[in-house]
């Protein structure tokens, strides 16, 4: 199965495609062969002894044995450990209700901030932006967010300061921005200095030195979603020369 998956990396798969264990034609005489383990990521689901594709997209592979289907969508489904940008909607007693673009609002306790105690409450108002990660995110329970990591440090999370603009893009662009050697990010770095917070629910917060530059960045990112790499580089070059 590993080999059949490896063959089809980079191909477009549709829901309903399946991968099954092939019968081994040759018996290795060298000794007991360890069965190859395959780790399935999003878009692949195990059903009995077959592997089913449940989302349409491109099959990707990461060493040593991870496979997943890279699909495009705008609707966010919460997953544990992902960092998102949320908007505080209700402040009731000990808990804030945060809207992150999902089917229901998540809860964020006031104690889940770095350095906050019962006496020392964090300064969070209704309508503020918070950058936090999911502690509980499954379909049966209300999602829960926290602004600290496992060891109690903020690690970049918390309330996002004033200024700047919030806008939405597709989830695919967000993943491309966050990948280790992102081309989009390196193109953006050559334009002008800016602060960018990337939430995996498709929300981005950008802040540059002037209002005009912030508007340029937000329009660029929203439009380069569906462009090829060459078109994007051409567009960024035009902006850098001051055309727009």
């Amino acid at each position: 199965m590993f080999s059949s998956l490896k063959e089809r990396t980079g191909e477009v798969l549709l829901p309903g495609d399946e991968f099954s264990f092939e019968a081994e034609d040759t018996i290795s005489l060298a000794g007991p062969v360890k069965p190859e383990k395959v780790v399935c990521g999003p878009g692949l689901r195990r059903s009995g002894d077959r592997l089913l594709v449940c989302k349409s997209g491109v099959l990707r592979h990461k060493q040593p044995n991870m496979f997943w289907v890279d699909s495009q969508q705008r609707r966010y489904v919460p997953a544990k450990g992902e960092t998102v940008i949320g908007i505080v909607t209700v402040k009731s007693g000990d808990v804030f209700k945060v809207d992150f673009g999902g089917s229901e609002q998540a809860s964020l306790s006031y104690l889940a901030f770095e350095g906050s105690t019962k006496r020392n409450r964090p300064n969070v108002q209704v309508g503020d932006l918070v950058f936090s990660q999911f502690l509980i995110a499954n379909q049966d329970m209300e999602p829960e967010l926290v602004c600290i990591d496992g060891s109690g440090r903020a690690n970049g999370m918390g309330v996002i300061g004033g200024g700047g603009l919030l806008f939405t893009v597709s989830l695919g662009l967000v993943r491309r921005l966050l990948s280790p050697h992102s081309e989009v990010r390196s193109d953006l770095q050559q334009l002008f200095p800016c602060e960018l917070v990337v939430g995996m629910n498709g929300r981005l917060w950008a802040k540059a030195s002037t209002v005009q530059q912030t508007l340029i960045i937000s329009n660029l990112l929203q439009s380069c979603d569906t462009m090829t790499a060459q078109q994007r580089r051409a567009l960024f070059r035009r902006v850098a020369q001051g055309a727009l």
Binding site: T89, L129, G163, G164
Partner: protein, 388 residues
């Protein structure tokens, strides 16, 4: 479902940007978004795109009894539906405040301005008049619903054709579109509404606000005007206080915008009329551009070919020898060619008569072999003449 709440940072940024005279999509203060008007297949169906705001209007008519107070005038009925697909804030069936406000504004703009000649809609005074019904559906909400709805409604009314009616004494005949061409409504003028949004207690103003700008605005001024610079309706909401000069300035801007929009509207109507006359395919499905980003195109694709060569050889080996030459075509009558004799009929009826007929055909065929008219295969023709 509730709409996404507006965060404080978005509100602050938008207000700051407006103070610096910058809009989110780079427009100037008085610019409209890109407007596109398309028509459906039926008369009276019109789609208007204002940026990402999308609206559809459909006009229909029916014969009803008139109102008692006005026995010789037709009836106009307007309805705006906020479809849930326009925004997550719209719920199906519930009459929200926004829907009541939009309905009221559209009625004032079109009905009270008397833009349609209702007396021409009368068929039999006191008994039968035409009821013209305009349904406007909002398909996508990205701000400035009122302008898009008013443009769609008046364009659909201009595009609509009602069935022709003939009156002979007491008899009234309504002709179907196939019997007699339907006739357009008589429209005096075209009122179009222009919306102005105000920020910071009336200090800054923007024309054609998008959805985000609508959320942070203080108040809205709607002016409905026609191209003859007559104001049909003017309404201010939000409770802001405006100075007289501001209102005058807005009305001047509105007259410029209305003349531009009326020109675009007329051009769209003329184009549609031309397309229909030429018999070209017109309508909603045809006007959608073919944006195929999902077409599968690969430089090379692998093809299953392992069995192909073997099967081809098998077929060639098993195939019989080439069939013999086709019998030469004969010409029983000039202009008719016959190749072969056809199969024996298997009905089993009237066998004697068929045999006689076949014998006759053979004779005539032989006689007319030489008199060959135009044939498809010259090769056979040469053979036939060679045989004889």
């Amino acid at each position: 479902m509730k709409d996404t709440p507006l965060s404080n940072c978005e509100r602050d940024f938008l207000l700051k940007a407006i103070e610096e005279k910058k809009r989110l999509d780079g427009r100037q203060t008085y610019d409209y978004r890109k407007m596109k008007i398309t028509f459906g297949t039926d008369y009276g169906c019109c789609f208007v795109d204002l940026g990402k705001t999308r609206v559809m209007a459909q006009v229909s008519c029916e014969l009803v009894a008139p109102k008692e107070s006005r026995p010789n005038e037709g009836i106009m009925f307007f309805n705006i539906e906020l479809s849930p697909m326009a925004s997550p804030a719209f719920e199906q069936g519930r009459q929200s405040e926004l829907s009541v406000k939009l309905n009221r504004q559209l009625e004032r703009c079109l009905r009270n301005s008397k833009c349609i000649d209702t007396e021409s809609l009368c068929v039999v005074s006191g008994e039968k008049v035409w009821q013209i019904r305009v349904d406007v559906h909002l398909l996508n909400h990205d701000g400035n619903l009122m302008d898009a709805a008013s443009i769609a409604a008046i364009t659909a009314l201009c595009h609509f054709r009602r069935p022709d009616v003939g009156i002979q004494g007491d008899e009234v005949t309504v002709y179907s579109p196939e019997e007699r061409d339907p006739i357009p409504l008589s429209i005096y003028h075209m009122p179009i509404s222009v919306s102005f949004s105000f920020f910071q207690q009336g200090t800054y103003l923007l024309v054609d606000p998008c959805e985000r700008e609508e959320r942070v605005m203080d108040g809205l001024l709607m002016i409905a005007m026609n191209k003859h610079r007559e104001i049909c309706s003017i309404q201010s909401s939000g409770g802001i206080m405006l100075l007289k000069e501001q209102v005058m300035r807005c009305s001047k801007i509105a007259s410029v915008k209305v003349s531009e929009i009326t020109e675009l509207l007329n051009k769209a109507l003329v184009n549609d009329k031309k397309a229909r006359k030429e018999g070209g395919r017109c309508g909603f499905a045809e006007s959608l551009p073919q944006e195929r980003i999902t077409a599968l195109k690969m430089e090379e694709t692998s093809v299953e070919m392992t069995d192909a060569t073997e099967r081809a050889k098998d077929i060639v080996q098993k195939a019989d020898a080439r069939p013999q030459k086709v019998p030469s075509p004969v010409v029983p009558v000039p202009g008719v060619g016959q190749v072969g004799q056809g199969l024996q009929n298997t009905w089993g009826l009237e066998e004697d008569e068929d045999d006689e007929e076949e014998a006759e055909e053979c004779d005539s065929g032989e006689e007319q072999e030489e008199a060959v008219t135009k044939m498809e295969e010259e090769r056979h023709e040469k053979e036939a003449s060679g045989e004889v």
